[in-house]
């Protein structure tokens, strides 16, 4: 196999890959989430039992991952719209991706305490 024929992609391709992966993950969670919410039609106890698992430290970590996926998909989705509809969108697609990642890091830092604070207190005691 000749060397150097594999296209390893640039910002555009990797953001496209990340958009797909996060989209599929969010969609699968959405199925589960509608099903667990439907338990309010069964009984308050059934619903509260399942929601209790959402409050465990391990699932809190998954929630932080869910927030990460949703924030990236939302911000990068706005970038995709800008690329499609803004006349200079393609020219600034890289700058827009770095803007997306900057906002993403800030929001993820902001979500750290609200989403994971209770899990940290439970694991390490307070």
């Amino acid at each position: 196999m000749p060397a150097g024929t594999l296209y390893r992609g640039r910002e555009g391709m990797w953001s496209w890959v990340a958009h797909r992966v996060t989209g599929v993950l969010i969609f699968f969670f959405l199925f589960v989430h509608v099903l667990d919410t439907a338990l309010v039609r069964v009984s308050p106890e059934a619903y509260d039992d399942v929601v209790a698992t959402y409050k465990t430290p391990l699932v809190a970590l998954l929630e932080y991952g869910l927030v990460a996926a949703i924030l990236f998909h939302a911000l990068n989705g706005l970038r995709v719209i800008a690329v499609d509809f803004w006349s200079k969108g393609t020219r600034y697609q890289k700058q827009m991706l770095w803007t997306v990642m900057g906002i993403w890091i800030v929001l993820m830092a902001g979500a750290l305490y609200p989403v994971l604070g209770h899990a940290v207190r439970e694991v390490f005691g307070s």
Partner: protein, 158 residues
Amino acid sequence: MSETTTSTVGPVEGESLYDVDHPAPVIEAPRARTKKTPKSTRTNFELYGWLFMRLSGIVLVVLVLGHLLIQLVLDGGVSKIGFAFVAGRWASPFWQTWDLLMLWLAMLHGANGLRTVINDYAERPNTRFWLKNLLYTATVFTVLLGTLVIFTFDPNIR
């Protein structure tokens, strides 16, 4: 090239066989539509799908990020969620509408996204057919279940 004569035949080929009184036979265009041509099945579905992803995406950014803020960040985060919290929010038509719109847009947005992914990676026609069947069945089921739950929610179930 630009002779004064309108004849299609050059002088070396001799006299033209056709003139105004003896016109040349009409040659059918290769792809001309006839009575036997099947009716076109092409639509603008993919265009509307593409547009829907962008329009619903903008609305979902507001609806979903607002939802995350309320459920996971404000007022104690996930710890406060329970049947009583749901009952309190769904007492208001505003939050019922919010959740209903979010359910429908998110499910259709996600289903169309996964349809694209299936079309891209499932190469065998049979696999595509069954994967998309499964996707559409699960989507219809989930949308209807969620809608039913929002409309029939009873805070005094017990």
